[in-house]
């Protein structure tokens, strides 16, 4: 197993982990636990990784499977306070920090499964790919995605 190669791949795609964990972790301690578990699962699964799938898709699947099956704390109601600050890299990327935080907050208002669907959609995954990662039908993805979009645009129109 080549640790260097694995770490290079993960570093290139660490934004996926950072972003998804940020949608589900309730505090800094929980975030660290999830990071650790995601990396451990990815490292264990690395020998079986075939380059038939993109590394980013593979990592996405690991992140979601880990987040949903790890014992987490009860979800807080106050999403604003529980939201971690955005990383400096994001803050300096040229877009409004407030816009990103509003988007992140709005997504966190959705149910846990809806958060997975909308984040995959926003990352450019096709409905078929989302269905494959989540284990549900294409139709079901389409129905849920439509509902998520409506909810999300309503949330973004409101002042969070």
């Amino acid at each position: 197993m080549n640790e260097t190669e694995f770490l290079t791949q993960v570093r290139l795609n660490q934004g996926i982990i950072y972003k998804l964990v940020g949608l589900y972790a309730n505090d800094a301690e929980e975030k660290k636990d999830i990071y650790q578990e995601v990396l451990l699962n990815a490292w264990k699964g690395w020998p079986a990784f075939r380059e038939e799938a993109k590394f980013s898709t593979w990592l996405y699947r690991i992140c979601l499977n880990t987040i949903f099956t790890l014992k987490r704390k009860k979800q807080h109601i106050d999403y604003k306070d529980s939201l971690e600050p955005l990383s400096p890299a994001v803050e300096h990327s040229g877009i409004q920090k407030e816009d990103l935080q509003r988007l992140q907050q709005a997504i966190r208002f959705l149910s846990e499964t809806d958060r997975a669907i909308i984040s995959m959609h926003l990352d450019g995954f096709e409905n078929g790919e989302i269905a494959g990662v989540l284990g549900i039908s294409n139709n079901n993805v389409a129905v849920k995605l439509h509902r998520c979009k409506v909810q999300l645009s309503n949330l973004l129109m409101q002042k969070l």
Binding site: Q14, G22, D33, E37, F68, A89, V90, G124, G135, L152
Partner: protein, 204 residues
């Protein structure tokens, strides 16, 4: 800027906690916090204790070769061996990490049913073993404490009534305690898994 573009910008993100884990040599120091991994560890500890208890039963049977003691401890011993075998079987079958080929729904179901199976097994063991071991413990305590033979000890009806009371009170208490401990340890997590499984399966 569109939502998609905004969202993709977060791909640039990272933080110190994540970066610190991505240093060479860190990966092999990580340990799993997965509930299934915890269950696997509990099963291993349970097996060790059960083996110790089984050995203790042998000592008791040698020290107190009275037929009622031999009978109750013998039955308890048989159940203990069955419990060790079942625990071993489950220990082998629990895979905290199932590769990365499963979908999210399949992975959540695997965790949910894996945990429930273990909880059911422990409850079953509790209901079957506690009454017998309580009887065995009561008899040994009674005989040793009073210095009487088993026939003399059970000659008074009050002793039999007290035994019935011990079973009636102690066993439900132990079973309830087992349930409470499982709920305390995994109840919320199981409820969250169930909710997410149902939510994902729901067509509407």
């Amino acid at each position: 800027m569109s939502l998609e573009q905004d969202w993709k910008q977060i791909n640039e993100g990272s933080d110190d906690d994540l970066s610190s884990l991505l240093r060479p040599g860190q990966l092999n120091k990580l340990h799993s916090l997965s509930p299934l991994q915890k269950i696997k560890r509990h099963l291993f500890i349970n097996m060790c204790w059960s083996i110790a208890v089984a050995l203790l039963y042998i000592v008791i049977m040698v020290e107190f070769p009275l037929w009622p003691v031999l009978l109750t401890i013998g039955i308890t011993q048989a159940f203990t061996i069955w419990a060790i075998y079942t625990a071993w079987h489950q220990y082998k079958n629990i895979a905290p990490f199932a590769g990365n080929s499963l979908s999210l729904l399949a992975e959540m179901e695997r965790h949910y049913y894996g945990m429930n199976k273990w909880i059911k097994l422990q409850k079953k063991v509790a209901i079957i073993i506690y009454p017998i071991s309580a009887t065995g413990g009561y008899m040994i305590g009674g005989i040793v404490g009073s210095g009487k033979t088993i026939e003399q000890f059970f000659s008074k009806p009050i002793v039999i009534i007290a035994l019935a009371l011990v079973i009636l009170i102690l066993v439900p208490c132990c079973v309830y305690l087992t349930k409470w401990m499982f709920n305390k340890s995994f109840g919320k997590h199981l409820a969250a898994l169930k909710k997410n499984i149902e939510e994902l399966k729901a067509e509407k």
